[in-house]
Symmetry: C2
Subunit: 343 residues, 2 copies
Amino acid sequence: MSKWDDPLTSVLRGENLKTPPLWFMRQAGRYLPEYRAVRAKHQSFVEFCLHPEDAADVTLQPIRRFDMDAAILFADILLIPHALGQGVRFVTGEGPLLEPVVTDELLRRLDPTRVGEILAPVCETVERVREALPREKALIGFAGAPWTVATYMINGQGSKDPAATRRLVYSDPEMIDQLMAMLVDATSDYLIAQAKAGANALKLFDSWAGGLPEDLFRRLCLAPSIEIAKRVRAAADVPILYFPKGAGPLYSLAARADAFNGLAIDHALPVGWAREALGAAKALQGGLDPLLVVQGGPAMEHAAKTLLETFEDRPYIFNCGHGFVPETPPEHVAELVRIVRSH
Amino acid sequence: MSKWDDPLTSVLRGENLKTPPLWFMRQAGRYLPEYRAVRAKHQSFVEFCLHPEDAADVTLQPIRRFDMDAAILFADILLIPHALGQGVRFVTGEGPLLEPVVTDELLRRLDPTRVGEILAPVCETVERVREALPREKALIGFAGAPWTVATYMINGQGSKDPAATRRLVYSDPEMIDQLMAMLVDATSDYLIAQAKAGANALKLFDSWAGGLPEDLFRRLCLAPSIEIAKRVRAAADVPILYFPKGAGPLYSLAARADAFNGLAIDHALPVGWAREALGAAKALQGGLDPLLVVQGGPAMEHAAKTLLETFEDRPYIFNCGHGFVPETPPEHVAELVRIVRSH
């Protein structure tokens, strides 16, 4: 046992554990039959996220089944737009869809005053999970980073190249700055509330950080995420992970930011490059292609061992470079856990 | 005038010109009224691509209007699947759609024997354009790189994360290897035919090179593209540009491949990193965010000058990091040409 309470936060605070802690993005998700059973009780995905009893239940499912080292709060990055007043619906197989808005009207339609109240059930979920978890298991809270959330809000949905948002950055920088400022405020408060409710670590998902010119990455991904991390750490003693998915060589800028305790890496980031370019002190997390877990077998084992060997001399948390997909066989997940723990 | 016939191929052969040659991806495209007028004559996009008189006409339009240093053949990377027998249709606003196929049946349905015959009109377009162009203007031929074309063939269309194809790489590597081998053959022959018809340089578009783990990038993007480049250069003396869009730090592997004379970079690749990591000898091309050309004004000028200054001590070709979008005002393109030429 490390000097902190659990392996995950120990690693995020700079400790190098012989067997890295492990958890997985979307470890509570559609690939699990017990998840699908609870999901079926709710027509609306948002309603499900805001139902503390059921959200806590699915958060704990992968801990019960696989004994993961950390639970991640069951919620969604689009709860912030929902709480700001932009309608969200989730269509099976298509992912989240936000109510389309005329961008000129977006700011006028959002109401930042009720976010805490609307998202209070999420904090109740955190409390319930923390109470149910043993001390050596971390609970990770999370939110979307402002650029990623803004991209969804403006596009109405995910997109391979969030060009509509980037276009607006050039044509109406003031509107973007106001939206980003609103998201920084709401997200900081939301994460502070999660920490106060018992989250042991927090993760900021910047899923649309890829494809941006360097100056926009600095201004729209890095700066607001650092600001949030600073505010949160001033209010609560929790380590913070940042996940600028797809940022490529720009990961090196995030690695220099003291506000983050760790960086989550995607599966396209070359691990040799990451080891050299991202410093040895900051914790790294992830890197395995989640489609290898669909496949299982020797290819999955080989890739997992490569990650473990590449990062054995630094603080490292085992995870994929993206969330589990619904086709993932749970027995491959169990096998992966055995591979990591027996390495 | 350089020792070769035109500025573009001079730079690709290693010369550093004081004023870099310039051309733009999709410089012949929907943003030009004269293009839309010719496009309107054809119901089918494939038929348009295979109509030498009209394809040659639109290829030459941006040279007439903006005096670009190079024309790029008007064609599409999906002509290869079309010529192999997979139906292609283009839906306005949605991009190309391929006839969906059951992947088990894909290989059986493809016929590689008629590609040369079906794509002969493209070579006639090349001949017509080369005849019409002055000697100091280069004509660039092109094709899609095998991974990118395979991704379209399997997905049926572009996708933000070509997961279906990657999934197949893990589950059915033999099928993927056979498809890639067929694409390497067809693409090499097609590019050799373009070179023999008069193309002065060739570009391989690997638009879906991003998001791949390093081992898959080496195997599916780099190796087949190098093989094509070698075959083409053994048959014809033309320089070859490779565009592994979104490859991030993996661009450094492509920079080490002697088979490529130059690399096209996307707008998300940090230019400082590119200057340091990609060697000083190989030509680079591109990097400007095409949405800045939609915006125009000081932001476009500043970004263009940053590129010109960053790459002034190496062979460099001015271009964007992606194609012009239909909303691009032609007068901003004219302004950009002035900025680059007067730098």
